[in-house]
């Protein structure tokens, strides 16, 4: 493949970590002005391939050519100098400084007195507007949603260098439909400017919408590179998983057996529950064995409801009853003791403890419920951890691996495991399938319905409407931090989208 159009070719790249062969002789090439999807299951090696290209990791063997010339990428900074810009899977910006500072950090415009703040803010604001995001760039980044933060990361990577190659590692996993559309507009524009774009995602729709070619990895090995138009979706899934996907059908079947739960005992009962500035008073009920989906655009108040019910935030109006008992003291520990679990939206900040092992992460909530002195013996900890590693298919050489060394999707599974281990009655899942591959996604949806069948109740929050529809018995649609409507599970997606957007 000595294609003259290739601006990048990576040849026989090999990279191993202790116990893991993350990449085995992988070839990858990128042409000028193409969008190239990198696809594979969780832990397939996508992020690792990117890290090799950006100098974060150094390959054990193999070579990289840029514009036909061999290079050795020494460090992330070096890769930027070579014209490679990256937005990583886990956003690494500073949330406590302003958006403008984040964008311009290290490249601040100066005047006689030092940093020219005015100019900096103007430049940053203009750059954000190019992505059609109109926000106050002087506010600190932490005030904005994950989606906006993601946009800021993209803007930064474009701004600090004029790249020849732009890498986006799961950029859309926390964006909603509109924001994704924005991003795609930007991608098309960059593409027309001749920039080569590497796009990693688990959303196959998006792969077909925007990419020209697809490279599939499986277990660190190259499966192949294909033209997007000549690779049907079914075949793509087959190549990713190494098997065909039939579970999705089972999911809908499982749900059908499970409809109509309204008359059972109610586990969660919120009356006029709300918090000023976060979510307006809302009535909400959750019954035994029921899956209630929360749909809505980003910022519509889905996470806020989850946080109120789980006791992260304390409501200032209304009342909440769990299993008929009125809650007076709101805290995660209290909720844990009441049999509620929350799998939070922001995996890195609120979920994993990266420097602890998988085992420690999995037993963390269970141990918190047991308290200080009922210590789970190490042997038992391994048993629990290994059980969930198997159940959820967490790809790792051992339970002693640090969670930060896991791939993004596998980290998500560790958090799920943490809460499953506490055997909760009510399970609030806030974007539980974010960054999870199609196979595992189906597994998780199946798990949700299975839990419901066992009499557990689930609040299911997801930006993917299809997924909400597939799993939920009832769907609450939120808009502008208010409950907009409530539908039974057999509503069509069109109605929901219109409600979300405020047309209905």
């Amino acid at each position: 493949m000595t294609d003259s159009q290739n601006i990048l070719s990576m040849n026989r790249i090999k990279k191993s970590f202790p116990g893991v062969a993350a990449l085995e002789n992988v070839d990858f090439s990128l042409r000028k002005g193409e969008v190239h999807a990198l696809i594979g299951e969780n832990g397939a090696g996508k992020s690792t391939l990117i890290k090799v290209l950006t100098g974060v990791e150094h390959p054990d063997s193999g070579s990289i050519e840029l514009d036909g010339k061999p290079v050795q990428v020494r460090s992330p900074q070096h890769s930027q100098e070579l014209g490679i810009s990256t937005v990583y899977q886990e956003i690494n910006l500073c949330t406590n400084i302003s958006v403008a500072e984040n964008i311009m950090m290290g490249f601040e415009p100066h005047n006689f007195f030092g940093i020219d703040w005015k100019k900096m803010n103007a430049l940053a604001s203009e750059a954000m507007k190019r992505l059609d995001v109109d926000i106050d760039v002087t506010q600190s980044l932490g005030n904005f949603s994950v989606a906006i933060q993601q946009m800021v990361a993209i803007v930064r990577s474009l701004e600090v260098a004029s790249p020849k190659i732009l890498i986006l590692d799961e950029p859309t996993s926390s964006l909603d439909v509109n924001e994704t559309a924005h991003l795609f507009g930007v991608i098309r524009k960059l593409k027309s400017e001749g920039i080569g774009i590497i796009f990693i995602t688990h959303f196959l729709d998006q792969v077909y919408e925007i990419t020209d070619r697809i490279t599939v990895l499986r277990n660190g090995k190259l499966v192949g590179t294909y033209n997007t138009t000549s690779l049907p979706r079914i075949e793509l899934i087959g190549k990713m998983l190494g098997r065909s996907l039939t579970e999705l059908d089972e999911v809908s079947k499982a749900k059908q057996k499970n409809e109509q739960k309204k008359d059972t005992e109610s586990l969660v009962e919120a009356k006029g529950l709300g918090l000023t500035g976060s979510i307006e008073a809302i009535d909400f009920e959750l019954h035994v064995g029921e899956v209630v989906g929360l749909a809505g655009l980003l910022g519509s108040g889905r996470t806020e409801i989850a946080n109120l019910i789980f006791g992260i935030d304390t409501p200032d109006k209304g009342s909440l009853k769990i299993k008929g008992k009125k809650i007076n003291h709101f805290s995660p520990l209290e909720s844990l003791e009441n049999g509620i679990a929350l799998c939070p939206e922001d995996r890195k900040a609120e979920g994993i403890v990266g420097d602890l092992t998988i085992r420690e992460n999995i037993i963390l909530a269970l141990q918190a419920r047991y308290g200080w002195f009922k210590f789970i013996a190490t042997q038992k900890q391994y048993e629990i951890a290994e059980n969930y590693i198997k159940l959820l298919g967490i790809a790792t050489p051992s339970a002693d691996q640090l969670v930060k060394n896991l791939s993004g999707g596998n980290q998500q599974k560790v958090i799920l495991a943490r809460w499953l281990a506490t055997d909760p009655q009510v399970f609030i899942l806030d974007e539980p399938t974010r960054g999870i591959d199609v196979g595992a996604k189906a597994e998780i949806q199946k798990l949700v319905l299975q839990l419901a069948q066992e009499g557990k109740s689930i609040i299911f929050i997801s930006s993917e409407l299809e997924e909400v529809l597939r799993t939920s018995h009832r769907i609450v649609v939120l808009r502008d931090r208010k409950k907009a409507a409530e539908y039974s599970g057999d509503v069509d997606d069109h109605t929901i989208i219109q409600t979300m957007a405020g047309i209905l």
């Binding site: 995660p332 520990l333 609120e350 420690e360 141990q367 009922k374």
Partner: protein
């Protein structure tokens, strides 16, 4: 399949590796240049010698380092341990003193053993309770009032020695009460009592952090307080515990320090212990940002500081140069622990490893 990291690398990544290397280097230096260093003699049925001095002198710092380790592991710091040492030692001294509350204490009165009727156990209990309460106070400020650890403990650091002086009525109290001298100067089975005290406190700490879930919670809170909170861990109580325990350790250290020299000078007892303790913890490989910790490694850190100091004494280094010497030690250690140095060392060692592989 459990772990195929090369053995040497695993050893190198063990927390105790670098502290022990450093300690051995100082020992080797002494073995070469100061032959008397390892000589042990027996006098009145006790061991004596430089090595015993090192252990005996290190005891209070080792204790304080234990408490400091937990505090730092939660992502905090305790600047008040020196002051806590002074307060708890002063409380003990005041209780022993026969004319409690009287400003006129002549040595003749104080020296009369028949006038001291406070039982030893009460002295010990009051000393320990005083320090523990100081720790509790710090813990409340940090965990409940949400004051940043540096500021919160600075309050007691500044005020503490004043409080200790108030307790002692502005006097340097000499303690003539013989049983009290035992903690810093006594021997059991030929070894200094202070070594046994350290062993006991270490055992308590070890059981608390490794046989209950407190250790895991401390590390988890230090690494990611928010995730820990979302998991139902009470960050507040974890921090409260760490600071309180640190206060307790300070009190035990105060007991030994007061006992060494039979006198409690509120202005000087335990001076700079907070800094040495922080340093000992850093040598032990615990990051100032919190997280993973090793009690044993911190204790080795304390030993390093004292071995180094005593070595300098032996070589007749003047006191002010001693401080400069310590500064150099700090610098070397911090450089060694930096990411940069780690990477270079790893590269050096790994290159060797690679050659072995290809040779096989």
């Amino acid at each position: 399949m459990k772990n195929n990291t090369p053995l040497f690398k695993r050893v190198r990544e063990n927390r105790l590796f670098w502290p022990l290397v450093a300690l051995s280097l100082i020992f080797i230096f002494n073995a070469i240049f100061s032959p008397g260093f390892f000589k042990l003699g027996i006098l009145d049925g006790h061991l004596y010698g430089n090595l015993i001095d090192v252990f005996n002198n290190s005891a209070p710092l080792m204790l304080v380092a234990l408490g400091m380790t937990l505090v730092i592991a939660t992502g905090g710091v305790d600047l008040s341990v020196g002051a806590v040492i002074a307060i708890s030692a002063a409380m003990g001294a005041v209780l022993i003193n026969p004319v409690f509350g009287n400003e006129e204490i002549t040595n003749a009165v104080a020296a009369d053993p028949t006038l001291t009727n406070t039982p030893l156990w009460l002295v010990v209990v009051v000393t320990l309770v005083a320090g523990t309460l100081c720790g509790l106070w710090n813990g409340l400020l940090v965990s409940r009032a949400k004051i940043s650890p540096m500021v919160a403990t600075l309050i007691l650091m500044v005020a503490g020695r004043g409080i200790a002086q108030l307790i002692e009525r502005g006097q340097i109290m000499t303690v003539y009460y013989k049983p009290y001298h035992w903690f810093g100067n006594g021997f059991i089975l030929g070894l200094p009592v202070s070594i046994y005290i350290v062993a006991i406190v270490y055992a308590i700490a070890w059981v608390l952090v490794r046989k209950t879930s407190i250790g895991l919670f401390i590390e988890s809170v230090g690494l990611n307080a928010k995730s820990s909170y979302y998991s139902g861990i009470s960050e507040k109580n974890v921090k409260l515990f760490a600071y309180t325990f640190c206060g307790f350790c300070g009190a035990v250290a105060g007991l030994i320090l007061g006992s060494y020299i039979h006198a409690i000078d509120a202005n000087n007892i335990g001076l700079n212990y907070e800094l040495d303790a922080i340093f000992a913890v850093v040598i032990g490989g615990t990051l100032m940002s919190g997280g993973r910790f090793s009690l044993l490694a911190s204790m080795v850190g304390a030993l390093i500081i004292w071995t180094f100091t005593i070595t300098m004494y032996i070589f007749g280094v003047p006191a002010n140069a001693l401080l400069a010497g310590r500064a150099v030690l700090v610098l070397v250690v911090i450089l060694l622990y930096s990411d940069y140095a780690r990477r270079i060392l790893n590269r050096i060692f790994e290159r060797k490893g690679l050659q072995h592989d290809t040779a096989n």
